[in-house]
Amino acid sequence: MYVTMWDKQSRRPRRFYLGRREEMKRWEELFKLAREYRVGKDEVRDYVDYFLDKETNLTKVEYVMLSLSLGVDLWKWSESSRTRSGQQLGR
């Protein structure tokens, strides 16, 4: 299965090999998402204004660490509530 599309690097249309024909549905899904998923300009502006460390030009470390500790806490909480509900069902 091949796709022909504009290659902005070589500035001409190019034919690319994708894979086997049976995988067409998966490729369609990926191309659709790549085309349609948008991050709004306002979201990017808010990120730059609020989360960006202007010195490093990366997200402020405290927010990256917070996203980790929140994720772990949420996971622990969901694990313990799953265990509790399992125990209640077992009664």
């Binding site: 090999y17 994708l18 998966r26 990926l30 991050v39 990120y47 490093t56 997200t59 996203s67 980790l68």
Partner: protein, 182 residues
């Protein structure tokens, strides 16, 4: 605060122990993504290293299993999970991604207080890695790839030429070309 200190201790230990065997290590996954885009919650820390050398991998597993938990405990896999002080750390070498010298050379460094300097995959290579992963794992990884691309362009920190070159080398250029469209 106590929790964060515990995380940082585990994180620092992980970097030190992995680096003993794999100096080419780099942060990947959602934790790495969060340095380049709007942060999202994450459960673990992922590192990419070159796991191809079986002897080195066997030594690494032996060393780590004497001190921490590691799964699986045998060679031949592309993903290993370490549990250090309760924190989950994944060490991976995704089979379809070309982790070459150029990728290692273009790593960035992030400085995390209480952890130290940690190498991180460049935004371009992280986006390519997500695109490669999406071919097998689906659209969630492609969303992350586009986030890295769009927010990095917003930070004026994204080399499209290099990104497309690596996309070509990894056989995913058509998807990458669409990702770059407005």
């Amino acid at each position: 605060m106590e929790v964060e200190r515990k995380f940082k201790n585990a994180f620092r230990t992980a970097v030190r122990e992995i680096r003993r065997f794999y100096p080419e290590l780099a942060l990947i996954g959602r934790f790495a993504r969060n340095f380049y885009a709007n942060p999202e919650t994450t459960l673990d820390i992922d590192f990419i290293v070159n796991l191809d050398d079986v002897e080195k991998l066997a030594e690494f597993i032996e060393f780590v299993s004497g001190r921490y938990e590691i799964f699986p405990k045998d060679v031949g896999h592309w993903q290993y999970r370490l549990v250090i002080k309760g924190m989950r750390i994944d060490v991976v070498k995704p089979p379809s991604f070309k982790f070459d010298e150029e990728v290692v050379h273009r790593r960035r460094t992030v400085r995390i207080e209480g952890v130290g300097e940690v190498p991180i995959l460049s935004p371009e290579d992280l986006a390519v890695l997500y695109v490669v992963a999406s071919i097998k794992r689906g659209i969630k990884d492609l969303i992350k790839a586009k986030d890295v691309v769009v927010y990095s362009l917003g930070r004026e920190d994204f080399n499209e030429k290099y990104f497309l070159k690596k996309c070509e080398e990894n056989g995913v250029k058509p998807i990458c070309l669409v990702l770059l469209q407005d």
